[in-house]
Amino acid sequence: MDKEKQLQRISADRCNSLVQFYPAALQEMPADAVAIVVDDNLIQRDTVCAAGSHMLYSFRPPFQAEAITRAQAAGYTVIGRANIGEFNMAGSETSWFGPTLHPQDTAHLTSGAAAAVAQGFAEAALIVDAGGANLRQAALGGCSAFRPTYGSVSRFGIIAFLSSSEQIGGVARDIDTAAALVQAVAGHDEKDATSLPKPQYDYAAAADVAGLRIALVEDLLAAAGAPARAATEQAAEALAAAGAQISRIRLRQAALAPQALAVMAAAEGCNNISRFDGVKYGYRTANYRNIEELYCRSRGEAIGETAKCLAMLGSLVLAKDNYEPYYRKALQVRYLVKQELDQIFTSCDLLLAPVAPAEAPLAADAAASPFPFCDPAHAFGAAATLAGLPVAVLPYGTAENGLPFGLQLFADSGHDSLPLRAAKALQAAPRKGGAC
């Protein structure tokens, strides 16, 4: 597409996909470069990095996320920043920049990355997945996405929310493009102590599932609505037709993953945003007489309801008398979830489940609760997130209103090519209901 037309389309975006757009970067981009957008919580040198929050509306960091630097070195050009929920704690409806609307139906919501990619503004997006929510939004937004094993991509330069399990991934219209972007940014980084020393960085995989043992996660199927469940069952049939062995499993401890993840997200979210105090950078209230007022009013005025609720919940679960029954318990659950999944992966290669109970949410429904964990979709990504597993998602099947459902495929840590193989196979397989 010619660049002028592209520029016009992006400028006229009715979905609020991007919080910043760099027309010059698009125009001056070399012919062989690939245009990408990055989530607004990925730090980029000398540009405002707000993480969807009024609190950081003027924050221009003097350094850059390792993943962006690596992407640029590999020939990707950042042409804009994608809208996310405030501090990436919830959906785009919590963004200071306003919600991102679904390109297929603007009554529904999606993420900035998904909307930008689905509309062809960029070939791919570098996202930060927290709790599976960003992957889910990509798939329900009509895109494929891949999140590698925790520790594969440096977290240096993420405006952190869920440090223990958030991981950078790629979004694109097909899984190959998403995986190629992740391939370009993965690798050990000494600036991140949790970066894997020798991870499996090879995400090139054939669309081949012959002999793969794939298990449907019954619990998540049961939690989904009938149409989304049916779409997942169809995917299982398509995989079986391509040579995979399909079985079904039930989770025991892993069924507690959503609650444990909620506790950890609240605690870590509370701690990670506590540095935004109005003292050093970003928003500061105009109206204060002492340091307490400066803190309270700056945060009171510039932080949204969801982030405030999450921070309060975080303070609650970390309080002296609650630490043992809540936070420590969550850590124990995480250990048990990993143990159970380890056991499951001795007898199968991949797990298959819907990414959400239904299609992308209605904007009107999203404001119902300030707690992201009250969204039933939260439960779908929890187990794989807590265990730091590699996940591929893709749109699969269509709801009555024409919006896509999403599938997720995840494997044991370090076996990143397995979900990619299956996603590619599904992408290539003929399907009922047409392409999304």
Partner: protein, 476 residues
């Protein structure tokens, strides 16, 4: 009624590492405000802590010299509180798995020797500093100290007097300085103590109500604070008034403690394990490597000085109190200096010169080789003691070469007794009255003649030789 004070200490020591604990900024307390600051120190999001292994080594060394158990798995925790000098709004510390546990330090007081238990030592990062300009009504923040590595050394409540507290702090300071853990300069805030104190009736098993006095940074203030707080507790007990468990500050101007604000006492720090920092695993080999690199510790050194060199206990203790002084002494002795003479010169002349120059024993600089040459000249009788002091001052002040300086200033002892004989003969001839007085039994007359000779020789005469020759010549 007889009371007993029970004290425990929490001592913070800044570690003498090249860089900070979780970023690569320089750890240099002398830098200009906000000079050693990176985005991480400034509390920006996006930065991740990476543990400096040198910090772990210093903490291991601190544990070894205080006879602690070194723990294998080390985790870090976040301690949350809001204060403008804490740029991240949390401090990374070790709550759940401190690096060292269950040690002790032997102290000596006039009451004898005693073992003070160490409950634990943990690693943590320091916070920045606030600078208040009361005239302009503004506060400024210096983040240089953000993420400077610290160890906090927590004692058991084993102290029963201020004297024991001071003896412990002195001992701890010496141990940590020898081990290269930190410079421990209290006046510069590199070593700070929190005092936990309670009072009970002597013989009681149960502890009284405990108060904590925070951030003490001088021995004098610590002594005063313990005395003040002990009195305050006893007074409350005797009048049956309530004592509150609380954190108190010390007002060094009024010389009294004061309750800190309710808020600071009620803080819940919302501790939780830092998800950004994987555990640091310490194996036996690492511990042994640190142990092997430790120098001789002050106790062993003092015992050696006393036993091998017959240096008196007090002098030996004075020498080892400063690792720098002890190092100069060891080097001088290794190069052939007579130990007692070297000790004497270091403890008198060297300390006096340092004091004059406003330096502590740790700061004074002296080339041991030059001291060795000076002492040899003195021993061989080529230099008088008064002149040796002049030469020493020149070595200290201008790093002079002793032999060259002696020659240049004509300080050589006049050893050739024919020249001295000639001079004395002249003096005798010129002072017939004194000679007559002497011969008449007035011994004072000899002192006059001796004084004349010394004046002529400008101090470079050997007094013993001159007296001997004078007696000889007058007897003729």
């Amino acid at each position: 009624m007889a009371y007993e004070v029970v004290i425990g200490l929490e001592v913070h020591v800044e570690l003498a590492t090249e860089s900070k604990i979780f970023c690569s900024c320089a750890n240099n307390s002398a830098a200009a405000a906000n000079e050693n600051v990176c985005p991480a120190c400034a509390g920006m999001p996006g930065l991740l802590p990476v543990t400096n292994r040198a910090v772990v080594e210093k903490a291991i060394a601190a544990g070894l010299v205080t006879n602690c158990h070194i723990n294998r798995v080390n985790t870090f925790d976040k301690k949350n509180y809001y204060y403008p000098d804490l740029s991240n709004s949390y401090q990374i510390t070790q709550l759940y798995a401190p690096i060292c546990t269950d040690g002790y330090v032997e102290i000596e007081t006039e009451a004898g020797s005693k073992r003070i238990g160490i409950k634990q030592i943990h690693m943590e990062e320091d916070a920045g500093k606030l600078l208040h300009d009361d005239l302009a009504g503004i506060s400024m923040v210096d983040y240089n100290r953000c993420s400077v590595p610290l160890v906090e050394i927590v004692s058991k409540p084993d102290f029963r007097s201020a004297a024991e507290v001071i003896a412990y702090l002195e001992k701890l300071r010496a141990l940590l300085r020898y081990a290269g853990v930190g410079h421990c300069r209290m006046e510069a805030g590199l070593m700070r103590a929190d005092i936990n104190l309670s009072v009970r009736e002597k013989g009681d098993e149960k502890l009284g109500v405990r108060t904590e006095i925070k951030n003490m940074n001088s021995f004098a203030a610590i002594q005063k604070a313990i005395a003040y707080e002990t009195e305050r507790h006893i007074d409350a007990i005797e009048w049956d008034e309530p004592l509150v468990q609380e954190t108190r500050g010390w007002d060094a101007v009024k010389n009294e403690s004061f309750a800190m604000r309710e808020k600071e006492n009620a803080t819940d720090y919302l501790y939780f394990p830092d998800p950004d920092l994987p555990p640091v695993i310490i194996d036996e080999e690492w511990i042994e490597r640190v142990r092997a690199a430790l120098p001789e510790m002050p106790d062993a050194k003092q015992a050696r000085y006393q036993a091998d060199f017959q240096i008196k206990r007090k002098e030996a203790a004075q020498l080892v109190a400063s690792p720098n002084l002890a190092a100069i002494f060891d080097a001088a002795v290794a190069q052939g200096a007579e130990p007692r003479e070297a000790a004497n010169w270091l403890l008198t002349e060297a300390l006096a010169c340092a004091k004059k120059a406003g330096q502590s024993a740790d700061e004074l600089q002296l080339d041991p080789q030059k001291l060795v040459v000076l002492l040899a000249e003195l021993k061989e009788g080529r230099l008088t003691r008064p002149n040796a002091k002049l030469v020493f001052a020149a070595i200290f002040e201008e790093d002079a070469e002793p032999l060259a300086y002696i020659r240049a200033h004509g300080l050589d002892q006049v050893a050739d007794d024919s020249a001295v004989r000639e001079l004395l003969t002249q003096i005798i001839a010129a002072n017939p009255k004194s000679v007559a007085d002497f011969r008449a039994g007035k011994t004072k007359a000899l002192d006059f003649l001796f004084g004349q000779a010394m004046r002529e020789l400008k101090g470079s005469g050997d007094p013993k030789l001159i007296r001997q020759l004078l007696n000889e010549l007058l007897a003729q």
